[in-house]
């Protein structure tokens, strides 16, 4: 057993040294890499679990929502604003120049059907829920939504126009199953 470590057995000091260096480096690399990879299951266990992911779509019946009304539905634990917009609101949302906006986006890109504005009702600043869903609530300077937490104003297309929020209210993936039913997610 001690033969390998014995220079007299025909292995020179130099060779012995480089062999040990190689073994130390190889062991450290394999051990280090293995430990680093073992971290992943622990980190990933904190990501959304399968049952959380499974509850990821919501169907909405649009029938009872009249023109100029909004409803809030829950999707993935977050509120989704569904608004039946008036012709006036659509007109205002489309006539304004997008170039000067904080997050330029045209109204056409944010809706599938002109009157139905569907978006996640979570302020893109720090996650509060903007006011403006009910007629009695403040709608901000642009007649859309207003976040009371840090004063972000959204327009009738849900675009950020004034305040600290960096992005427009996000439009989730959705599809119309028929004329009066929409599936979000």
């Amino acid at each position: 057993m001690s033969d390998t470590a014995n220079p007299a057995a025909g292995v020179s000091d130099e060779e012995e040294k480089s062999r040990r260096d190689f073994l130390i480096v190889a062991t450290s690399v394999v051990g280090g890499l293995g430990t680093a990879l073992a971290v992943w299951p622990f980190v990933h266990s904190m990501n959304p679990a399968k049952d959380t992911l499974a509850m990821s779509t919501t169907e909405v019946d649009l029938e009872p929502i009249e023109e100029g009304q909004s409803i809030t539905v829950t999707w993935q634990g977050k509120p989704v604003f569904v608004r039946n917009r008036t012709a006036d609101e659509i007109e205002v949302a489309r006539s304004v120049k997008t170039a000067d906006m904080i997050d330029p986006e045209s109204d056409e890109d944010r809706v599938q059907k002109d009157e139905w504005l569907i978006m996640v009702g979570v302020c893109t600043h720090l996650g509060c829920i903007p006011l403006g869903q009910k007629a009695s609530e403040p709608k901000g300077d642009y007649n859309g939504w207003f976040c009371p937490c840090h004063g972000s104003h959204y327009d009738t297309s849900g675009r950020i126009r004034k305040g600290p929020a960096p992005k427009n209210l996000p439009v989730p993936a959705y599809q119309f199953l028929d004329d009066t039913t929409v599936k979000i997610g």
């Binding site: 980190v43 904190m46 990501n47 959304p48 679990a49 959380t52 990821s56 809030t72 829950t74 993935q76 634990g77 977050k78 509120p79 904080i102 979570v122 600043h125 720090l126 996650g127 509060c128 829920i129 009371p148 937490c149 840090h150 004063g151 305040g163 600290p164 929020a165 960096p166």
Partner: protein, 423 residues
């Protein structure tokens, strides 16, 4: 400890196998020499330690009756208040203990700044202290989420959303923190696990903090090094008694709040159960986070400091800048030992720095006031001015004053400061 104590055969038996009594004696006994001129501002370290013990003891008992589930958390806290024997007392102790902890630690921190305790050779001691503060903040934030009231939920939402400001990976990090797509049951569960863990991390950091303290011992109000045994007195009985006296005074004040104003530091909104569909009109964090909250909110697109640090919005948006500024406001303290180039520790001998210390102190209080006000009108401007001063003080004024100021003559030693004054 007396030599008679060490002659006891049982003590001898233990000492031979593990010299635990010698260790204690050298740590806080008669064999630990301490500067003889420490004033009452030096009580707040031991007071913070006392509160840490109170928090751990009350917290463990509360955990025995708390349920970390979104459907039961709020109710289980109410059950603690109404049905559990002395549950109301223990919860009020834990609730107010959080505030008491921050009061002690903030006084301790400003004491260190006033008397230059962070300077060579105590830099690591100071840095460990900043780490303790950061760990305390994480613990307090997660603890506040557990009762699952409206402020719990929306505070958690706002603070976890801060991480979404990080470029590219921000949203993935937030999802990872939540364990879902919003603050929900998985979030509450992990916050409970971490809230239970972190206090013991703090205990570990405190051990290192005290280890570093014992290397070069306490600073003192004069800020001059001890020159010999004539400048020192044994820790026991002199400072054990003084610390115990301080603890007595502290407990009177603390229990006053626990018994007579238990909700003084709290927000009434947190007695409303969390509702993910309704944001309270005015979200405020606990008082000890208000200055940082003011700094976070000061960064709007038109704030000139934002225009400078982001190169006119080129490098980052205002949200990210606010988040970075908030973290920087604490992390910059780590550099204090090197930003302050003055060799003189105590502000008693630094006439100009003394003034700016107090301006900085008032600025911090003022930031706290702004942080509790809604972000509108003149509050925004005042918050931006106070934020600018905060950073200007640490990054510009401290180094500049330390180079330009001419300090008053410092005494040769702690003893000579007394004897040469004609005593």
């Amino acid at each position: 400890m007396s030599s008679k104590f060490f002659e006891n055969p049982v003590i001898k038996w233990v000492e031979y196998r593990m010299p635990v009594f010698t260790f204690l004696d050298h740590s806080l006994g008669s064999s630990y020499p301490t500067p003889k001129n420490l004033n009452y501002w030096w009580n707040f370290g031991s007071l913070a330690g006392l509160v840490l013990v109170i928090m751990i003891v009350s917290g463990i008992v509360l955990a025995m009756n708390y349920t970390p589930h979104v459907d039961y958390a709020f109710e289980s806290v109410e059950r603690i208040m109404r049905d559990v024997n002395y549950g109301w007392l223990i919860r009020y102790i834990h609730m107010n203990g959080g505030s008491a902890f921050f009061i002690c630690v903030y006084i301790h921190l400003f004491r260190g700044m006033y008397f230059g305790s962070y300077k060579e050779p105590r830099e690591l001691l100071w840095i460990l202290g900043v780490f303790i503060l950061l760990a305390m903040m994480a613990t307090a934030f997660m603890g506040y989420v557990l009762p699952w009231g409206q402020m719990s939920f929306w505070g958690a939402t706002v603070i976890t959303n801060l991480f979404s400001a990080i470029p590219f990976v921000g949203d993935s990090i937030v999802t990872l923190l939540w364990g879902g797509f919003s603050v929900d049951n998985p979030t509450l569960n992990r916050f409970f696990a971490l809230h239970y863990l972190l206090p013991f991390v703090i205990v570990g950091l405190v051990v290192f903090h005290i280890w570093a303290l014992h290397m070069h011992r306490s600073n003192n109000p004069l800020g001059v090094d001890v020159k010999g045994p004539e400048d020192m007195i044994p820790f026991h009985p002199y400072y054990t008694v003084k610390d115990l006296f301080g603890m007595g005074v502290f407990m009177v004040l603390f229990m006053f709040f626990v018994f007579y104003a238990p909700n003084f530091f709290g927000e009434p909104d947190n007695y409303i159960k969390a509702n993910p569909m309704v944001t309270p009109p005015h979200i405020v964090p606990e008082w000890y986070f208000l200055p940082y909250y003011a700094i976070l909110r000061a960064f709007t697109t038109d704030f000139f400091l934002f225009q400078i640090v982001s190169l006119g919005g080129f490098l980052m948006d205002a949200k990210l800048a606010g988040v970075l500024a908030m973290f920087a406001s604490i992390l910059l303290l780590l550099l204090l030992p090197w930003l302050d180039r003055s060799k003189v520790r105590s502000n008693r001998f630094r006439p100009i720095n003394l003034w700016f210390f107090w301006i900085f102190f008032i600025d911090c209080i003022f930031l706290g006031y702004i942080g509790g006000k809604p972000a509108e009108g003149s509050f925004i401007i005042m918050g931006q001015i106070a934020t600018t001063y905060y950073f200007a003080h640490i990054v510009i004024l401290i180094p500049l004053i330390s180079i330009l100021e001419r300090p008053k003559p410092i005494p040769e030693s702690i003893s000579s400061a007394v004897t040469s004054a004609g005593h």
